[in-house]
């Protein structure tokens, strides 16, 4: 039955060719460090799923944010688990992305013809850091509030444009309801859209160009 449906669809848009190009492509003999990119993608997927689940209850306003997070953590079945996955997954994202970057760097895999893949990868790292920075404020507890106070103040010390950047980030002089709302909007709309687009390009390039072999000593 499944095979029949597969055939029917394949007749119409030849998906098997796409499947083979993605999953049955030839790769050089590599080692476990080459799984770091897939590991990052896996955790990103977990973050997407748990993040969507969290938005079912989370409310991004100063008078409800903390209470809704407490409700998720203490009242809902498995709420602690969903939030915990998202919380620890955030750290895992940064660690895995950096490890993946280091592997590419030390194996020289960023060189011709893979410069564009490297550039999208660096942009992805920035997006991941952006996720971490904006997500940290959302529980609206003391740690979140002061971390964002400090974080936006750091942006503020840049010469000339610093104060402007700080005001853009906070949506005014102070950390306020405006700050929380724009951090939330950035965290659940702007960054996910950027992440999806960049991952699409990044993966296309990885598959189109193929991956590097482990470099030999004299290379």
């Amino acid at each position: 039955m499944l095979a029949k449906i597969g055939d029917w669809l394949d007749e119409r848009f030849s998906w098997r060719g796409v499947w083979e190009a993605i999953f049955l492509r030839k790769i050089p003999h590599v080692n476990w460090f080459y799984t770091l990119g897939s590991a990052t993608l896996f955790v990103a997927t977990i973050q997407g799923v748990t993040g969507i689940l969290l938005t079912l209850y989370y409310v991004p306003t100063p008078d409800h944010a903390y209470d809704s997070v407490m409700y998720i953590t203490t009242q809902l079945p498995a709420g602690w688990f969903i939030r915990g996955l998202h919380h620890w997954g955030a750290s895992a994202m940064v660690v895995l992305t950096v490890l993946h970057l280091l592997r590419v760097f030390f194996y020289g895999a960023y060189k011709f013809p893979r410069e564009a893949t490297w550039i999208t990868g660096v942009l992805l790292l920035l997006v991941v850091i952006g996720f971490g920075f904006t997500g940290y404020l959302l529980p609206w507890d003391q740690k979140a509030y002061w971390a964002t106070t400090v974080g936006t103040r750091i942006a503020g010390v840049a010469p000339i444009v610093g104060d402007f950047i700080l005001r853009i980030a906070r949506g005014g002089d102070q950390l306020s309801a405006v700050t929380l709302a724009r951090f939330f909007g950035t965290h659940v709309w702007v960054l996910p859209a950027s992440l999806a687009a960049l991952i699409g390009i990044h993966l296309y390039l990885v598959i189109r160009i193929g991956i590097t072999a482990v470099p030999k000593k004299d290379e």
Binding site: I46, V49, T50, L53, L56, Y57, H64, D67, S68, M70, Y71, Q75, L76, P77, A78, G79, F81, I82, L85
Partner: protein
């Protein structure tokens, strides 16, 4: 021949391993996710007795509206909610407490004494004094609450 069988075996093994590990991961997130989503829907409010007021206010044979505020907790919000019910008594001893929520689609009905009926403004439903349907689309009579009288004060049970 042996070699070939071995190769096929490894590929099938990997397929099965990926499918089962993927299934375990999917279930580990999917099942808690279902509980997380349906959790609040399955939570039943505990039965509470609501104090309506003194029975001396109730007119004989004429539905009397009682209004009171009750504290509710929904999600992470504590709020006060208005609770209303009509009370009917024919002998001053036995009380029938009826909901003022129309059984059609949930609008609030109003007793109009001159016309001897409960009227719903939404779809022109009419209920009789005892809550039975006289006209319009409601599928059943007005809902009734369990009630009790203690020291001349009427209470209704909500759950």
């Amino acid at each position: 021949m042996n070699q070939k069988e071995k190769n096929v075996g490894r590929r099938d093994f990997m397929k099965a391993a990926i499918a089962s590990i993927g299934g375990v991961i999917g279930a580990a997130i999917g099942l808690p996710a279902v509980a997380y989503i349906v959790g609040p829907a399955l939570k039943k409010e505990a039965d509470t007795w609501i104090r309506l007021g003194s029975v001396s206010k109730i007119e004989l044979d004429n539905p009397t509206l009682f209004k009171t505020t009750i504290e509710t907790q929904t999600g992470w919000i504590n709020a006060e909610e208005e609770f209303s019910a009509y009370v009917l008594t024919e002998n001053g001893q036995d009380f029938t407490v009826m909901s003022n929520v129309c059984t059609h689609l949930g609008c609030r009905v109003r007793w109009i004494a001159e016309k001897e009926g409960f009227f719903c403004p939404c779809h022109n439903a009419v209920f009789a004094k005892d809550g039975t349907v006289l006209d319009g689309p409601p599928p059943r009579p007005l809902d009734r609450f369990e009630s009790k009288v203690e020291d001349g004060v009427l209470y209704v049970k909500r759950g």
